[in-house]
């Protein structure tokens, strides 16, 4: 139990462009994931969350750094050996309907990973496993014969989850598993994830843009901006006392479902700069209301402030932590 299940060290993912430029999707990202833990990864589109997820399950490139799963380095594995990993490492993508073959019945789709990854199982064993897994994700056995078109969005999401879980993975990476679902179904699938995590002692890497849902599901939360970690903290700490100005802005941007809530101006102007030409120093400084000269000159390292890790030069200034519940109020340090 001493080694973490997943250890990501100085991971970089870079995509050379046809014009010679290099797009840095993930830059110097390090974190660990303990067994049974759920780590939420949040950030806006283009921040590198999906590239990170793909690199971890080896569906995308790893340009530098290392990813160790249960002590084994993944970045050195050749394509053939990656296959063995698939039993332990599964991923669920955003659009469940697009993740399913429209001509393949649900039961057959869920059986496929067993045929590919556990060839030693007999036909009967396979169909037992499929039935068990369907039950676990709340799919009635009568749906096994249906094609995706005859299933609702929520049911498709459960089929996709069942297909990932049927091989008994130890780490499940979910890339936006709830977006695209209706509010009432989101809550169902979120509760299902919590339940599965408990009964199967799953470790979960949950990538999502919905900050409220991530808060529901995560033990710790990692915030990314332009390929880098800006804050990594225990869930309650991150939501109750966020330290990075970007985390604060993200939280303050979420509209409150209450007409009595104060109408705040948008906390941030502009948008995330292009990852092809990131700003010098702190990548967030161009939108940061608290940027100082040092932010342009020196890239802030991810460092411990209190119990959190944060990449901001100013996070340890006196008065910095004075924020309201939910990080709603942007501080004005003296």
């Amino acid at each position: 139990m001493s080694t973490p299940l997943l250890e990501v060290q100085a991971l970089g993912v870079r995509f050379p462009q046809p014009d010679g430029q290099v797009l840095t999707a993930v830059d110097d990202v390090s974190f660990t994931l303990e067994r049974g833990e759920t780590l939420g990864v949040v950030g806006e589109s283009g921040c590198g969350k999906s590239s990170l997820a793909r690199a971890i399950v080896r569906l995308g490139p790893i340009s530098e750094g290392s990813v160790r799963f249960d002590g084994n380095a993944l970045e050195v594995l050749e394509t053939r050996s990656i296959r063995k990993l698939r039993r332990d490492l599964q991923i669920v993508f955003q659009d469940p309907r697009a993740s399913l073959d429209p001509r393949m019945r649900a039961g057959v789709a869920i059986e496929q990973p067993l045929i590919a990854l556990l060839p030693e199982l007999s036909r009967v064993e396979r169909s037992n496993r499929v039935r068990e897994t369907m039950q676990r994700v709340g799919l009635s056995a009568t749906l096994a014969g249906r094609h995706p078109a005859a299933l609702s969005g929520g049911q498709c999401q459960r089929v996709v989850l069942a297909r990932a879980l049927v091989v008994g993975p130890r780490l499940l990476v979910c890339d936006e598993p709830l977006s695209g679902l209706d509010v009432s179904l989101q809550a169902q699938v979120a509760n299902l994830l919590v339940e599965l995590k408990r009964t199967l002692s799953l470790t979960l890497l949950l990538i999502a843009h919905d900050l409220a849902l991530v808060r529901q599901l995560s033990d710790r939360v990692l915030v990314m901006y332009l390929g880098r970690i800006v804050e990594l903290a225990a869930c309650d700490a991150l939501y109750d006392a966020p330290l990075h100005p970007y985390t604060r802005a993200l939280l303050a941007s979420v509209p409150t479902p209450d007409p009595r809530a104060a109408r705040r101006p948008a906390p941030l102007a502009g948008e995330q700069p292009s990852p092809l030409t990131p700003p010098s120093g702190c990548a967030f400084r161009t939108r940061c209301p608290h940027a100082i000269e040092r932010c342009a000159d020196e890239r802030p390292a991810l460092r411990a402030v209190g119990a959190s890790l944060v990449a901001c030069h100013r996070a340890d200034e006196p008065g910095w932590q004075v924020v309201g519940a939910g990080g709603a109020i942007l501080p004005t340090p003296a």
Partner: protein
């Protein structure tokens, strides 16, 4: 009487009507193919205010919006009444065509697919003015620039020469809003206008819509599944389920004293940042009912935790909860 006269002269419209009628009045709107996907929908929107239409997929929100815009396919059967500025629109497709783009504008969900990738922003904006108002050349360009500035797009002259792919997602949505406002419409219909945007950019676009409503006196019909967005922008809210309005009231009433179990369940199901986290979430069982094949009685009853015998038999009508607030639930008597 004196007060009324003052109001009329102050408003400067010269209209004779002392208390102006709502800008948009929808009554008993139904859309069918021929099974009904929108059934007996009624609401009204005053100038300068925002009405939100909330519901899950298949609730009929988008079909109602297409009916408003006269954009339904020919086989759709539309009944009821849509009066815009006192004028009936149903059965007058040519009139709708004249109004659309001029006085009634539309903003779609996905700015990337709503813009033509082969034409510059400028070409697309100038085309709007040429088609609708016959304005061309320098005058048109000046108006396009003004409007880009009104939606807070920096370096407007440069943007006119750019193609959609050269703009960021937030900028594209602003450009689309600018385009829709070029002819100074009095009604803006926005279908999930911020759903495709990141949360910090969504906050910017919501603030923009709010300020445009004030500066242009716009009425907005906002279609959204996001209760936070609706609470932020709307004065009045219609909650739809399986093609019908199940509740209709002020935002205050809907969010703080919901009269329908579905509205209540929706509010509880969405996790929120301004409350302690609750695990598990209070999920609604089952999936949204289909509008074309709804369960008998109240379409929501199979998912309702407060149903009783009558709910499976008789469809509840919208009944008053308090002034300006109605809900379709047998619990209300």
């Amino acid at each position: 009487m004196q007060v009324r006269e003052e109001q009329v002269s102050n408003s400067g419209t010269g209209r004779e009507c002392p208390t102006p009628a709502p800008l948009l009045v929808v009554e008993g709107l139904s859309v069918g193919y021929p099974e009904r996907v929108v059934d007996d929908l009624s609401f009204a929107v005053d100038a300068g205010t925002t009405l939100g239409i909330v519901g899950e997929s298949g609730a009929g929100k988008t079909q109602a919006m297409l009916a408003l815009m006269g954009l339904l396919p020919v086989e759709a059967r539309v009944e009821g009444s849509i009066r815009f500025d006192g004028e009936e629109l149903i059965g007058h497709p040519q009139r709708v065509e004249q109004l659309r783009g001029r006085r009634i504008a539309l903003v779609f969900q996905d700015p990337a697919s709503a813009l033509n990738p082969y034409l510059t922003i400028g070409t697309q904006m100038l085309e709007v003015l040429a088609v609708h108002e016959g304005v061309r050349g320098r005058a048109a360009r000046a108006r396009a620039l003004d409007m880009l500035e009104a939606v807070q797009i920096a370096e407007a002259p440069r943007r006119l020469a750019q193609y959609p792919h050269e703009l960021s997602g937030g900028m594209r949505q602003r450009a689309l809003i600018a385009m829709s406002l070029l002819c100074r419409p009095s009604l803006l219909v926005a279908d999930e206008p911020t759903t495709a945007l990141d949360v910090t950019v969504q906050a910017q676009v919501l603030a923009l819509l709010e300020s445009l409503r004030e500066s242009f006196g716009l009425a907005i019909v906002l279609i959204s599944h996001d209760l936070g967005v609706v609470a932020r922008l709307c004065e009045r809210v219609v909650v739809m389920y399986a093609g019908r309005a199940v509740e209709h009231g002020s935002a205050e009433q809907i969010f703080h004293a919901p009269g329908h179990p579905y509205t209540e369940a929706l509010l509880r199901a969405a996790p929120r940042l301004d409350a302690p986290r609750t695990v598990p979430l209070v999920a609604l069982p089952g999936a949204p009912a289909s509008a074309t094949d709804p369960p008998p009685g109240c379409a929501f009853h199979p998912r309702c935790n407060r149903k009783f015998a009558r709910c499976g038999v008789e469809r509840p009508a919208l009944t008053g909860v308090e002034p300006g607030h109605t809900a379709a639930c047998h619990l209300l008597g």
